[in-house]
């Protein structure tokens, strides 16, 4: 059993702490940048119908089941997904191997997430330099760029982003004597290391209890600012309501580059497009971080008789609040108001929206440096709360398989994580490595893991076990209906989504791997990481672990 270095079992300090930690894990760049882009590009308001359906039949049942699975594993003495799946799968090595998938996926995502985190930090500090200028504390992180972020035209913002991430060629960030981006990345690695090093309660929970309310406050402040901007340019069609309409209207006109109407898309056309359903399901799936290891690892640190029924619902609700209410009202309406529907295009890419379009908007907005700082500080906090959750499954796995203390596990995990981050920072030409990691690890692996995890929960661990686990310590009427929804609705629906997703995406991606050496090297790195994690899973499966009954902690729901 993983323990604190002083020999006590690690637990969350409070139920609020675990809810904030899991919400913090789920709330990230996807909520504020990816979601609005997906809505705007997939039919606006009509997109919300498949989105809400996916929330009800995929997100809530799967998140609830994953919380229950995690606490069950915790009561068996496991905190890593490998151990949790191994114990729920009747101590068969096969299910431990599934846990290896969901341990390695967040770990690799963390490698490039730290890099993106560094961009948010750089943008926030650059804006802060402008905010502090009137106080005589003007500073800039880049030579030749004044404090704050003001450029004459959109190309200036694009060039700044390109230079920050080294998009021109591989190794661009390593050619400077002291690359600001590399230093910021190292700072982010250090922050993540320190928080996991301090442990679940004193590190992760402590930080999330401060950061999550701060994220909410910053988001509300930015939204109030956007709402109170009344058509700043004075050009017809660029009011706040026009911005909202661009995002939420279920039927809309399609404009060409000159702004002329060339087509009209209505609700039924949108709803009959399977691609829109796929986009909605993918968005909610990745947003809630299902099957990425973090949820079940965090749930394993809940007290043996702690609630999972209400906690899982509360963390899902917090994530949805940030995504729909905050993400939906913030970025795109502001971009439309200042840049118009044509110039503000490029919503398909979260990076373009977040790091090119929005800085352009802040450049035109009154007190834009302050709001820019607040927005990127909000993104930075959201990114940190997510990235620490990506390290924790691997930290727990090292503790359980190599019998390391938490501190040494955190050190080893962070060291390996930094190695992967170095690979991402080197292959920056068109963000090659980041893109390959993102597709195969953040998109492909979790979908495969979702199918396997549903099989484990519904058909191996069993409905009875899930019901018992949901009932234990429940603060609301246990949502038993999720068991049948998982079996008869979510599972076939997910299967359809995965097959359709693969049919649409895999061909071009496989071709890319054949053609690109960076893609091949990145995939080799992913494969090596997976093999090493599988080896650890085998080590763990060799060790017989006690059931909750044998641990004598509480009544066992073991099948």
């Amino acid at each position: 059993m993983s323990r604190k270095s002083n020999g006590t079992r690690e637990n969350w300090g409070s139920q609020l702490g675990v809810i904030l930690a899991v919400s913090g894990s789920a709330v990230g760049l996807g909520n504020f940048l990816r979601f609005p882009g997906q809505v705007a590009n997939n039919g606006g308001g009509a997109f919300m119908i498949p989105y809400v359906v996916s929330l009800l039949i995929v997100a809530i049942p799967m998140a609830t089941a994953e919380w229950a699975l995690g606490r069950f594993g915790g009561r068996c003495g496991f905190h890593s997904p490998v151990g949790i799946y191994y114990s729920a799968g009747g101590r068969k090595a096969l299910w431990g191997a599934l846990g290896a998938l969901t341990t390695v996926a967040p770990f690799i995502i963390g490698m490039y997430y730290v890099f993106i985190e560094a961009w948010c930090l750089i943008y926030a500090l650059q804006y802060l330099g402008g905010v502090l200028a009137p106080l005589g504390l003007r500073f800039s992180l880049f030579q030749g760029v004044d404090a704050g972020l003001f450029f004459e035209d959109a190309a200036g913002y694009e060039n700044f982003f390109g230079a920050t991430v080294g998009i021109a060629k591989d190794g661009a960030l390593f050619t400077q004597a002291a690359s600001t981006t590399l230093l910021a990345t190292l700072a982010c690695v250090w922050i993540n290391f320190r928080l996991t090093y301090r442990g679940v309660s004193r590190g992760i929970e402590w930080f999330c209890k401060m950061a999550s309310p701060l994220i909410l406050v910053c988001a509300i402040a930015v939204i109030i600012r956007v709402i109170t901007l009344d058509n700043p340019s004075g050009i017809p069609g660029r009011s706040f309501l026009d911005g909202l309409g661009f995002m939420w209207n279920p039927s809309r006109n399609v404009l060409n580059e000159s702004g002329e109407v060339v087509d009209r898309i209505n609700v039924w056309t949108t709803l009959c497009d399977p691609g829109v359903w796929l986009a909605a399901t993918s968005q909610i799936f990745f947003s809630i971080s299902i099957c990425l290891g973090a949820v079940c690892t965090y749930a394993s640190y809940i007290q043996p008789r702690g609630d999972v029924a209400l906690s899982s619902l509360a963390s899902t609700a917090t994530n949805e609040l940030c995504e729909v209410a905050f993400g939906g009202l913030m970025s795109i309406p502001a971009a439309i108001m200042f840049l118009g529907p044509v110039a503000a295009g490029g919503f398909a890419s979260s990076f373009a929206l977040g790091f090119v379009v929005l800085p352009n908007v802040f450049g035109l907005m009154p007190l834009g440096q302050f709001w820019g700082f607040l927005f990127f500080f909000l993104l930075f906090l959201a990114a940190i709360t997510s990235s620490i959750s990506m390290l924790q499954p691997m930290v727990a796995l090292f503790q359980e398989t190599l019998s390391l203390t938490r501190e040494r596990s955190a050190l080893l995990s962070s060291g390996l994580n930094m190695l992967g981050t170095g690979v991402v920072c080197w292959f920056t030409f068109n963000l090659g490595a980041l893109d390959v990691f993102d597709f195969w690890v953040a998109n492909f692996l979790p979908l495969v893991a979702a199918i396997l995890q549903t099989i484990l929960i519904c058909f191996v661990w069993g409905s009875t076990s899930l019901r018992s686990e949901l009932a234990l310590g429940a603060r609301i009427k246990p949502p038993y209906f999720v068991v049948n929804i998982l079996k008869f609705v979510s599972f076939p629906y997910m299967l359809l989504v995965v097959l359709f997703w693969g049919w649409r995406n895999m061909g071009s991606r496989v071709q890319e791997v054949v053609d690109s050496r960076v893609a091949q090297a990145s995939l080799a790195f992913i494969g090596l990481s997976l093999v090493l994690t599988l080896a650890l899973a085998i080590v763990l499966s060799k060790r017989r672990q006690k059931t909750p009954d044998e641990n004598n902690e509480t009544a066992s729901p073991e099948p």
């Binding site: 006590t8 637990n11 409070s14 919300m48 909202l244 008789r305 702690g306 209400l310 603060r475």
Partner: protein, 45 residues
């Protein structure tokens, strides 16, 4: 913004804000059985 836009936006917001509000209400008004029985970080060995 069209009427359809208002309907889709207010319905979506009502669902997520309602769900969040209900969860917060339940968190405040129900008791955590575990918190009364066992304090955090209780040594097990």
């Amino acid at each position: 913004m069209t009427i359809g836009g208002w309907i889709s936006m207010t319905t979506s917001l009502a669902i997520v804000i309602g769900l969040f509000g209900w969860c917060m209400y339940k968190l405040v008004t129900t008791k955590d059985a575990n918190a009364e029985e066992e304090p955090a970080d209780t040594p097990k060995e």
